[in-house]
Amino acid sequence: MSQFQVAVAGVGGQGALLFGRLLAEAGRSRYEHVSYFPHYATIMRGGQSECTVIISHQEISSPITFELQAVIIMHPQFVEQYQNRVQPGGRLFLDSSVVPHKITREDIEVFYIPATKSAIELGDDRVANLVLLGAYLEATKAVPLELVEKALEGRLRGGRGEALLPLNKEALRQGARLITNYGGWKDDQRRNSY
């Protein structure tokens, strides 16, 4: 495709913005144009935190757009407003560990990813965002997962997060695996989640 657009919505601390930033950084080696718009209020701790990423071969007129090819929902409070932002034929990814909803739209593809559960199993609930990113990449092939790993390395190398690099990469790969083995929405998955 000549352009990928995705919005990620979570609450402060869930890492929605890192998802977007990594995708944008990875995207720039494959696309001439990249825009990344994080939308959050520092004044609102724990408040809504969303971002929009566009990676494109053409110039990007607007970095914001209502309907997108893909939307990632990390928290139940966003289901209502964000499911409408998926273009017909687009994809919606939910962290099914925390989002209990079953989406009824028929014109889009929905992925229920138990991201937080997977993350806890990997050892840290905070990598749920990377599980979702791995899933997104696997499902859309927007950029190769390796480029995101490189972007991650660039961020963590030398800092106090360096030790977390293997965990992070594992989370990405786990996300990808969840898509490879994706079996659709399962009722029991939801009940497990909280």
């Binding site: 609450v11 869930q14 724990g46 990390m74 928290h75 139940p76 560990s97 925390v98 937080t116 806890i120 609930d125 989640s193 909280y194």
Partner: protein, 80 residues
């Protein structure tokens, strides 16, 4: 002997763990893997039998999430 009980309002708890930290009797297990509806990890009232309803966990909870109840035998209650 169980002397009291705490109830954690899961909608309010943010998983900071201060309740667990400040329960001198070790009744509360720190947040680990139970998720709240808000996506926070929840502490667990793991050892109710040790609770003496001292109230500390409630007073120290920054999120008004804990209610502490003291068990009073009926005779006692009538007397007060």
């Amino acid at each position: 002997m169980t002397r009291g009980e705490i109830v954690i309002e899961e909608q309010l708890c943010k998983g900071c763990g201060l309740c667990a930290k400040f329960c001198a009797r070790g009744c509360i297990a720190p947040p680990k893997d139970k998720l709240s509806p808000q996506g926070y990890l929840l502490p667990i009232f793991a050892n109710p039998e040790k609770c003496n309803a001292c109230g500390v966990c409630g007073w120290m909870c920054p999120d008004f999430a804990i209610t502490v109840y003291k068990y009073i035998e009926i005779e006692e209650a009538a007397a007060t």
